[in-house]
């Protein structure tokens, strides 16, 4: 039992259960499986983005350009779809992944080859990518009536009673779980975050690994670009403006340490779900949506305080063991 309680994810899961419990005292239907499935679907894009951000943060870096990447890639696929409705959706998704990969690779190259701190690089590309969206579209919007029915319908189609969007999220979660726990790359990502110097001595190419994580976060940004645009059926320069901080917030609430090396796939997913539940619940329990920002801000601060406590406690336990030995 104690071993289970040590996991941060369990506490987060408990917090989410309490949250759902509290909400259902005011709006009983919220805890229905059907509604929870809806909440999961609504949060899918944030979960996917949080996972992409997680691998970057684990290596002591940060990607502030994800939301701008999403905006740019979303505009690319929306314009492609408007101009050539015949392009099949799977191909569009591949294009979205490729465009996102390219944008991520630019970040990664600047971090890897020029050694510029990632926060500076992505602060720059954050404005560049969003500006590029404007240049690409000429400031015009792509509306629902210009998108093909397939483009909009793909993620809404139900498979085994669950929308494709949720399935994509589940697939991405599974892939990240395999990446982080079953591959050498996953191990190197953790190693770099815990101790970059030791990682070099262990034969890990730190620069190259950082390049790869930026490619991953870029691809995730691109994929989310398509998902976002086809979900909210509008592509404009304003899409997901400021969303990069929500993504980081989901990671922080999920217990991913901004100092690198600490965090898990489960944490990122639950952190995103926590935020998703709040934003879904506020309207149904008659709290003005204007409260959402302050609530998620408080949740972030609370999560950091609790996580810092947890990290400290772990340190002490190791010390005690050594003294006993």
């Amino acid at each position: 039992m104690k071993a289970i309680l040590k996991y941060r994810e369990i506490w987060l899961l408990a917090a989410i259960a309490v949250l759902i419990g509290l909400i259902s005292t005011r709006f009983p239907a919220f805890a229905n499986p059907g509604n929870l499935r809806q909440v999961f679907n609504d949060t899918s894009i944030l979960m996917i983005l949080a996972l992409g951000q997680m691998v970057v943060i684990l290596t002591r870096s940060i990607d502030l350009s994800m939301a701008s990447n999403l905006c740019f890639t979303g505009m690319v696929v929306a314009m492609l779809n408007a101009a050539h409705p015949a392009i099949p959706i799977p191909l569009l998704i591949v294009i979205a992944l490729a465009v996102g990969l390219l944008l991520g690779a630019i970040n990664g190259l600047l971090v890897w080859r020029l050694n510029i701190p990632s926060i500076v690089v992505t602060l720059g590309t954050l404005t560049i990518y969003r500006g590029a969206t404007f240049v690409l579209s000429g400031g015009a919007w792509v509306n629902a009536d210009k998108m093909s029915p397939d483009f909009i319908g793909f993620q809404r189609a139900a498979f085994l009673g669950i929308p494709v969007l949720s399935w994509i999220a589940i697939l991405v979660i599974a892939l990240f779980f395999i990446l982080m726990t079953r591959t050498a790359l996953g191990r190197s990502i953790y190693a770099i975050g815990v101790n970059p110097t030791a990682s070099v001595y262990a034969g890990i190419d730190v620069g190259r690994t950082k390049f790869i994580v930026f490619c991953i976060s870029g691809m995730i940004g691109g994929l989310s670009g398509y998902l976002w645009i086809s979900r909210y059926v509008i592509a404009s320069v304003e899409v997901a403006n400021g969303y990069e901080l929500n993504i980081i917030a989901a990671c922080v609430i999920g217990g991913i340490s901004i100092a690198g090396g600490i965090g898990s796939v489960g944490g990122a997913v639950l952190g995103a779900l926590f935020l998703g539940i709040i934003s879904n619940a506020l309207p149904v329990i008659n709290i003005s949506p204007f409260w959402q920002m302050a609530i998620s801000g408080s949740a972030i601060i609370l999560a950091v305080v609790l996580n810092a406590r947890g990290e400290r406690r772990q340190g002490r336990i190791i010390l005690r063991k050594m003294e006993a030995a």
């Binding site: 602060l123 590309t125 950091v304």
Partner: protein, 334 residues
């Protein structure tokens, strides 16, 4: 070792070596001066309206408010911390000033509220970072949502208007001819922060903390207290900026100053402050503020939309930082 007869008399040990002229020419500030001159020249060729005292005066409004925050932010980043909540502090301070107006407060009270709210928010950040030992980037992402969130709770989709006429002076008034009050305040703050960072022991301690907080602690520097003061200063300057912006716009919405935090940080980094801490100068930040003002204003005269300007700012940030690195590589023959 045995040469004791020739021991030099105790002499003044310089805290930094004299720099040769070449390093002054290739310094960051020199690079920024060249860039600023280039953009200035291009602007005056590109638009006939640029070289006009009134245009140039309008130009200064592009950077004075953000620049005021950037000075304090520079010190904070040099000490190895960061504050992403500055724009949210501006919004919260502006909202509370708006509330005070509804309650019938006069101009002095409004200014006091703006400054005190800023200071309070900064102290809250400082408390979380230094007392609870939390990473500042995460704390201020949290407080950023919290502060602006409170502004949204108070205001929703409404706006506060009806600021007193005397209040308009701070953001719209001129001290002399085309020299705005904002510009005077900006230059005064530049001198004060230059003195604080480069001419006082407090400034030396800020650099020491940024270079090695542990060594600084062991050298008797009160790391926590100095960082706390720096967070308070950043909050204070955000409060001052809030007074200026609110006065200039004459109204408050909760979305006021949205995205300013990234522009302020861009300004600081462009000014040669290392995001990793320990390196930076106030003249660099002043120049970076001018450059950003010049770029946005010059492109504005050419009818370039704001979002395209941001591409230039982003490119400028990356290129200016990458250039010295590439230059060193090429000369190093790698």
């Amino acid at each position: 070792m045995t040469d004791t007869t020739n021991t030099p008399a105790p002499r003044h040990i310089p805290d930094r070596l004299d720099k040769p002229l070449s390093s002054a020419i290739f310094s960051w500030e020199a690079l920024l001066v060249i860039i600023a001159a280039l953009i200035f020249a291009i602007n005056s060729f590109a638009s006939p309206y640029f070289l006009d005292p009134y245009s140039l005066s309008d130009l200064t409004f592009n950077f004075t408010e953000k620049g005021l925050i950037a000075f304090a932010m520079a010190l904070l980043i040099i000490s190895g911390e960061i504050d992403l909540s500055v724009a949210a502090i501006v919004a919260l301070a502006s909202t509370l000033m708006g509330m005070a107006v509804q309650a019938g407060a006069g101009t002095p009270v409004l200014v006091l509220i703006g400054i005190v709210v800023g200071l309070g928010c900064g102290a809250f950040n400082g408390f979380l970072v230094t007392r609870l030992g939390l990473p500042s980037i995460v704390v201020t992402i949290g407080t950023m949502s919290l502060f602006r969130g409170i502004a949204f709770i108070i205001l929703g989709d409404q706006a506060y208007k009806g600021y007193p006429e005397s209040f308009a002076f701070f953001g719209q008034g001129y001290a002399w001819w085309v020299v705005s009050f904002e510009l005077v305040l900006f230059l005064t703050a530049a001198v004060v922060y230059w003195f604080l960072l480069h001419r006082t022991s407090f400034g030396r301690r800020v650099f020491a903390i940024g270079n090695n907080p542990v060594a600084a602690q062991f050298s008797g520097v009160r790391v926590g207290r100095i960082k706390f003061i720096l967070f308070c200063l950043t909050g204070l300057m955000s409060g001052v900026a809030s007074v200026l912006i609110t006065s200039r716009l004459g109204s408050t919405r909760p979305s006021i100053a949205q995205g300013y935090e990234l522009e302020v940080i861009t300004m600081v980094v462009l000014g040669g402050v290392s995001i990793l801490g320990g390196v930076g100068s106030i003249p660099g930040v002043v120049l970076a503020a001018f450059i950003m003002g010049l770029v946005t204003f010059g492109l504005g005269l050419l009818n370039v939309p704001g979002i395209v300007m941001s591409i230039f700012i982003g490119l400028l940030l990356i290129v200016v930082i990458a250039l010295p690195i590439v230059w060193r590589r090429l000369r190093g023959g790698r």
